[in-house]
Structures are given as structure tokens and as C-alpha cells.
Homo-oligomer: 527 residues x 2
């Protein structure tokens, strides 16, 4: 069994040069050992120097070798056993069944990327063969495919200590694309991060990867992340977290002498629209469904539905009324860390201070602040108040939602049109509702990355067709997804080879297609 | 036959509110009528308001309607006849045969995008069907495709008055993707721009497009472009031009409250490496080839080879020697406008002021400055001087190249490793050369968007496999191309539809695939 050291993992070297800090158990407020060493500027420089040195060897590996590395990571995470989950539970207060599920998702998506690399068509190979006798000019032979960008900085998220952290979707997709990765551990779960980091280092050594393909750095100070994003060898950034944090990294990356892409998945209020037909059919189960989605994981999901909208005379007041006792009966929950707890309480205060906003229900159980607990809170207002107070559109990260009662379809459309970018929007409607509200669907398409009919936005399926992103501020780059197979293309760019002799072409672009991948050849898709 | 009015074309309305300016014939230095009205802030606001209003109707059109609009544009440009080419010749001094060819390329690429839209697979449709009884959780039905970003600001380039201007590749690909376009005419060829703008307006009216799908604004002041990029309805920017201009737009776009993507294709010196075997076989024709590529279009191509590199003892000095008389015999050429002429002369002065740089040959013909003429200039230095003087790596936009003599393969690799991002790099080498310099290929792959073996980088084939872009500063977004079919995806983003009833799904994602497009269905590529 591995033990925690508190070290930064700079390639295969441990680094313990900086100041130290400890994790805190949010359920008790007490520190947990060991001491973790913040990465110094020199540690970060070493990590990116090693990543850069590893870059050429790593991207040149046969896809099979890269796939085996990914699968070895999944195995080594499994081999950590319950110690990983127990540490994660101590550091995040997330319950063991949730963490068990999250580990399953994490190794599942690593294996999915291994399969994508092995299959190989993700490089979008395209071949236009020469026409030497074309008039007035000969047509050259041009062949195009995606190649990796180079070293990537990944920032672990607080709310998914496994699936969006050290070996989460960002790391897995960047490694799959052929990019070395330097991860910044989230300071709320450094022990969980080190365990997973050790697993990756072990997998890299076991499968003969070049040193520097992976590094893990620690540190509660924003300076650590800043130094990563500004490092000349850093070629892309992936982040999941707050709007403030993501925007700061985006700004730093954009102001570099050579700007680099930033994939920041940030805030979202994930509006849910309840149309009259659906409410007439299902009011009871819908109230239960909302409460479940709002309070899942103490509301700490980026897909948490923070806004629900319906018509005054379309059964919505009854739904809101049913939510009152539901919220009152909701248990308090321990949040990930005190910072999130304070932010939740401050955001709630801002919302409640708006005249015209009322509480429809709130956990009757008292929240024990020293256990980092918070209450679930349901709020309500009318469309006019909502539209006149822009602060009501800000994300409240936690187990709360705001019900907005509209007088008319026009008010619903106005709310939809005024939305900023979000990860998701959901409509509950019968076929007849949807026909009547076709224009609502059209407006929401321009606002979100994922549009649901029925159900709730929490729970993000990891599959080829998933889109987890959306117009700003849901994400800094709406053209990308941070969940699902398509996430791999974030870390690659196209290159064209013109008039290359067969001997120098990458396998993906050779005439006889030795990789057996899907390609566009002279306009025809073929394998 | 159309006549020039000097008006901004704001949707279907003419706007003549601002200050006026005139085009200048670079061959004479004299102004040409009519007066062109600079767009006011209100004109720009109107253009984007109309674009936004047109957005929903335009993106909802059947692909066939969009394809017919594009084809109508191609027809209307053809219908402008020689008046278009004559005006372009007056405004740019580019010769008629070149302009005739450029018109052919322009309408050819518009028709290519029409075909791409009609065929439809560019939307990257992907379907994961539901598994309702999956344990522990049911799998939802998730379907994903690309949808248009919304209104796009396009900046016409000075050096391609047709193919990279009002109806150039950026406009064609944005309209093809389903985005309304507001074009900023390049102030060096406003008349050419208005002619083409009129053609687009006519095509839009003839095919029943929503008003605002296209607008054209004029103005020599940077304020016009700034107002476009900062407009809240602007969702993406496409630009071809200088590093300074492109970076300024990128910075503005990144600093918006909601940042938007900028596709700026900027400077490039397009290094050409001459390896010993190739020189032994072909020295004579290679010298001719370089001169032709360097002086083509008075050197005013972003793919102009501004740097040539070879070994002291590998036949390179002989090549450089042969270039001396070649440059001496090269005719002077009229540049696009006085600004480019002055910049060329200033850049040359900077290069020539570096100790260790010598002129190997220069047009013997005197340049007539009032005809905006410049001389072709060949320069030479050694690797040490080149590596020690970073200003020698800056683009000199015009008919000039710098030959760098290396003592060793290591020096060649050092030069390659020190390169910033470029659109292209070229290697002249035999099979044996390429085996020996495999590491040069590997380094160059990380530096450019297109890598050629043999030939010259000028001349960019418009095809599916073309990549015209590259790492910064060649382009602001190395993940995109501004030439070829893949350019369409720059103006789209993915959206996922979850558990949508068949009646509400876009045609591209319906079960029976009524569009007959290629899709990824439960992991299988199928049509």
C-alpha cells in the first residue's frame, strides 16, 4: 500500500522545497496529516521542462503504447483500494457510495480514452491525392491529421476529487491526445490527489513512458497556478471550477506573448422550465425530482438546477407550494470545504436581500457550522423581480434553487432570452407543450451546451455524444466539451503534409491505411 | 452593371453618415472616386442588430436554401464581369491574370462550401441511444451536432482583394456554417469590396434570405474594427493581416465581458530548408524556384518564404551565389499600398543594419517610389548571427528572403527549434536526406501548420485536407484553418440534445437519418 508523503511529484522525482499546508476534514474542521509542500517556482519550471523533454518521445509512441499507459493508470487507481476512497471521504465529506461510483466513472473514462486512442479515427485524417496534370496548376498531394499541442496544465476541481481531478477527464483526454500533463492538485484534497498521482507515476514507469509525461504540484496559493499558465512550455490549460478562477486563468493565458487555449468549465445555473401539460400530468413526482437534483451532493454540481421557471396559471404555483415542505424536510449537508460553505451563505444572503424574493422552504434541521454544514433552501419570486435584478441570475453554488413565476409565455421567453451561457437547460413538457413552446427550444439552443427534455441536468453521461460546456460563462470555449470522447480534440491541432514521400508519412496518412482508421480520401469517407 | 456608391451596406439599407475617404491607385498615387463613407458607431450597431435578428431565421433554413444562397453569391460575382477585376487592378496593382485566377478561386471556394452544406456531414452528428435498463443508472438518449455561433465579424485582407476579402473564405465558411456576417472592407480596396458586397446583397434578396444576413462597413480608422469586435452580438472574428492588427483584435475579443473566438491569420516567414542531396541534384532549378516564390505577387503572400537555410558544405553557398544575379535581374514591383511599401523598406533596413548580414543581390532596376514600387532583395548571413539577432526572425512582408548558412546539422536543428509558429515550413531533400534529417521533420511538425517536402509554400490548395494556420504567431488559434473545407467548423459549436422526442430533433439527428449524412451511432460510423 502507498503512503502519503506530501511531496510534489516532478516526473519521477519528489520535491519538498516550499512551504507546507495540511488538508482539513470538513466534517470536523480539523487538520489531517501529512504536511503537503507547496510547489516553488523552480518545481513548476522543472515539471514543465521535463514535460517538454518528454513531449517528442511521448507523441511519437505507437497508439497502442499510449493506450496501455492509460489502462495501466486505471489499474493502478484500482490497486489503491479503499485507502483512496477513505482519504477522499475524509478530505471532502462526500459519502463512500458516491466516491465508489466516482472512482468507477474515473477509471471508466480513462479506459474509454484508451479505446479511442487504440481505434485511432479521432485524428480526423484526411487525404487529397495529387493531380499532376491538372490545369492551370498541378494539384499537390495534401494530407492532414491532428497532432498533440504539447504540455498541458490541468487544474483539479474541488467537487469531483476523482473524476475531475488528478486522473480525471482532462488529464485522461490530454494524455490520450499525446500531451504530457502537469496537474495542480486542488488544495481541498491533496491526499486524494497524491494517491492518484502516485498511481499515474507507477503506471508511467511500468509501461516505460518518458519521464515528465506526468507531474503533480501542490499549493493553496494562486501563484502556483499562475506560474503554470504562464510557463513558456505550457500549451493549453484545463480547469473546472468557479467563474472567477477560470476567468483569471483565461486572462493570464490570453495575455501571454503567445496566447494558449484555456478550457475552463465554470459557473452555470442550469434553468429548468416546467410547461403546463407536464405539470398537469406529473406535479408530484416533479417536485420530488427537483428536490433530489438540487440537493444531490449538497448541491455541489456544476449542473445543479439553480433556476426553475413556470407559468402562474399553468400548475407552477402548486409545484412551488409542494416544494415548501420538501425543502423543510431536507437534511443539512456538509460541504466540501469552509470556503464553499461561506460562499454559499453569502450568495443566499444576496438573493434573499432582494425585495420580492421569498423563502418557500428551508431545512428545519439546524446546520452545524463547525461541521461545514448548510441547509437546503428553496426560494421564489416573480418574473418581473427576476428580470430587474441581475444578481438573481448569478450562480448560488449549493443546495438551493429559485422558482420564478411568469404571467405569460412572453415572460418565459424573455427570461430565456436574457440568460447568459449555461451548461444545460431542461424543459418539462408534453408533445403539445413542446409544439406550443417551439420558440423556447430555439432560444435555449443558443444559450446552452446541452438541452434536455424531461429529467434533470445533474448526472452527465460519459459518451461520444455528450457535450459538457456551453457559451460563456458556462465555459471559456464553447467549441469544446470537458466530458465524453470528443474532449480529446481539445488538446490537438491539425497539420497538413504536402507532397510527402510515403516513407515519411505518419501511419495514419499512409496510402494503405495500416491503422485501419476512418479517413476522408478525395472526398469519400472510407476505412 | 452595378455602380459604386461609397455607401455602407447595412442589410438592405445604404448608410452614408460618416466621414469620407477615397481609394488610392498605388500605380499612380492618385485618388480614385467615389467617396466612401466610414461606418459610424450607429451603422455598426445597426449591422449587428440586423445580423442578430437574422440569426435565428438564417440558422433554421434548410441546408439546401443556404447552399443556394452561396451559389447565388458565386453567380452574382461572376455577373459583375470585368468591371470587378478592373477596379481591383486599379486599387491593388495586382495584374489582371492574377485577379482573374483569384476570382476563380473565390467563386470556387464559395461553391465548395455550398457542396459541404448540401452534403451535410460537417455537423459531426453523433448519437448515443438510450439503455433504459442499464444498472446502476439508466443511460439517457444523447445526440450531438454542431450549430452556428451567431453573427461573425470578418476583416478583409489587403493582399487578396477577392479570395480573403468580402466574399472570401472567411465569409463563405461563416455563411455556410449558418452565421450572419458583417464584413469590414479593407480600406485599400473599398471599390472592389463594394462591388462584391452588392453581389452578396443581390444574392441574399434573390434567394429570400433574412435581411441582415450580410452587411458591409467601410472605414480606414481602427475604431470601426474595434466597435465590431466589441459589439455584444458579435460571436466570432475572422481576420487575415499583420501580427499587430490581429493581436489587437485578439486582445479586444479576449477582454470582452464574454470573450469570443478570434481566427487571425497573421505573420509568417515560412522557412525553407535545403538539404545536401537535393542541392546536389537540382541547384539550378531550386534557385529559380526560390526567386519565383519570393517575388510572386511582389512578395505579398503570407506564405512567402522569408528564410532559407542550408549547410556551408552542402551545396548551399552555391545556391546562394546563384541567387545573386537572379535577384539583380528581378523587376521592381508595385506594392498594394504605400503603407506596405514603407513597412517593407523599414523592415529591410532593420535586417540590413545587423552586422553580419549582407546583400547577395537586389533588383538593378530603380524603384519608382511614386508608383509604390520596391526592389526585390536577397540577403545572407550565418547561423550564429541569425540566432543572436532575434529581429532577423521577424517577417519582412515583401519580395525578400534571408539565406542562413549553417556549419552543421546541429545548427540547422537549433534554428528550427528556435522558430516561432509559422504557417509552413519546407524541406528540399532526397530520401536519404530525409532519413538523416528525420529529427528536423519532427521539430518542424511542432512549429507549423503545413509541412512540405519539395516545392514552395506559396500557392495554397483549397481542399479538404488543407491546413492554413499554425502555432502563434502564424495564427491566433492553431486549432483552425482559414483555407479549405475544415474552415467551416470555426463558426460552430456542439450542442447535445438529451431525451428529445423524435418530433423535436433536428433532421441531422433523427433516427432515420433523412439528411443521409455520416454519423457516429452508438460508436459506429454510418450513413
Amino acid at each position: 500500500m502507498s503512503e502519503l508523503t506530501g511531496n510534489n511529484l516532478i516526473g519521477n522525482q519528489a520535491a519538498s522545497n516550499g512551504e507546507t499546508y495540511q488538508a482539513i476534514n470538513p466534517q470536523t474542521g480539523s487538520s489531517i496529516g501529512p504536511d503537503f509542500y507547496s510547489a516553488t517556482e523552480q518545481d513548476i519550471d522543472s515539471a514543465f521542462q521535463k514535460a517538454q523533454e518528454a513531449s517528442e518521445a511521448y507523441r511519437s509512441l505507437a497508439p497502442e503504447a499510449r493506450a496501455e499507459f492509460l489502462e495501466a493508470i486505471a489499474e493502478e487507481i484500482g490497486a489503491l483500494g479503499d485507502a483512496l476512497l477513505e482519504r477522499a471521504n475524509e478530505e471532502t465529506a462526500l459519502p463512500m457510495p458516491r466516491l465508489t461510483g466516482e472512482r468507477g466513472r474515473t477509471v471508466g473514462q480513462i479506459r474509454m480514452f484508451a479505446q479511442i486512442v487504440r481505434e485511432g479515427s479521432w485524428v480526423e485524417a484526411s487525404i487529397d491525392t495529387a493531380i499532376p496534370d491538372r490545369e492551370p496548376l498541378p494539384k499537390p498531394d495534401v494530407r492532414r491529421m491532428l497532432i498533440p499541442l504539447g504540455p498541458v496544465a490541468v487544474f483539479g476541481a474541488s467537487n469531483f476529487p476523482l473524476a475531475f481531478s488528478v486522473a480525471g477527464g482532462d488529464t485522461a483526454s490530454a494524455l490520450a491526445a499525446g500531451c504530457p500533463v502537469v496537474v495542480k492538485a486542488h488544495p481541498a484534497h491533496p491526499g486524494t490527489s497524491e494517491f492518484v498521482g502516485q498511481a499515474i507515476v507507477k503506471a508511467a514507469q511500468r509501461t516505460g513512458m518518458p519521464e515528465g509525461v506526468f507531474s503533480l504540484v501542490h499549493g493553496p496559493s494562486p501563484k502556483v497556478g499562475e506560474a503554470m499558465v504562464k510557463h513558456p512550455h505550457c500549451q493549453a490549460v484545463a480547469f473546472t471550477g468557479s467563474l472567477g478562477g477560470g476567468r483569471a486563468l483565461f486572462d493570464l493565458a490570453s495575455q501571454r506573448p503567445n496566447p494558449i487555449p484555456v478550457y475552463a468549465e465554470m459557473g452555470s445555473i442550469n434553468p429548468v422550465f416546467f410547461l403546463p401539460g407536464a405539470l398537469a400530468e406529473n406535479a408530484g413526482s416533479l417536485a420530488e425530482g427537483i428536490l433530489g437534483s438540487v440537493t444531490l451532493g449538497v448541491g455541489q454540481f456544476c449542473t445543479n438546477p439553480g433556476l426553475i421557471v413556470g407559468l402562474e396559471d399553468g400548475g407552477f404555483p402548486e409545484l412551488v407550494e409542494a416544494l415548501g415542505p420538501a425543502f423543510k424536510g431536507a437534511a443539512c449537508g456538509t460541504m466540501l470545504h469552509a470556503g464553499i460553505q461561506k460562499a454559499y451563505e453569502a450568495s443566499l444572503k444576496t438573493v434573499q436581500s432582494v425585495s420580492g424574493v421569498e423563502v418557500i422552504g428551508q431545512s428545519e434541521q439546524a446546520a452545524e457550522s463547525d461541521k461545514t454544514q448548510v441547509q437546503a433552501v428553496g426560494l421564489s419570486t416573480d418574473a418581473k423581480t427576476f428580470l430587474e435584478n441581475s444578481q438573481l441570475s448569478d450562480e448560488v453554488f449549493g443546495p438551493s434553487t429559485l422558482a420564478v413565476r411568469c404571467q405569460s409565455k412572453e415572460e418565459i421567453l424573455q427570461i430565456a432570452s436574457n440568460l447568459e451561457g449555461h451548461l444545460t437547460a431542461t424543459i418539462h413538457g408534453t408533445e403539445a407543450d413542446l409544439e406550443e413552446f417551439k420558440d423556447l427550444i430555439a432560444v435555449l439552443e443558443t444559450k446552452v451546451g446541452r438541452l434536455l427534455i424531461g429529467g434533470f441536468p445533474t448526472g452527465v453521461e460519459v459518451c461520444a455524444s455528450m457535450q459538457h460546456g456551453g457559451p460563456y460563462p458556462a465555459a471559456s470555449d464553447s467549441r469544446s466539451t470537458s466530458v465524453g470522447g470528443a474532449a480529446i480534440t481539445r488538446f490537438a491541432r491539425p497539420i497538413a503534409y504536402q507532397n510527402f514521400p510515403a516513407s515519411q508519412l505518419p501511419a495514419e496518412l499512409q496510402d494503405d491505411n495500416p491503422r485501419g482508421i476512418w479517413r476522408l480520401v478525395d472526398g469519400e469517407r472510407t476505412r
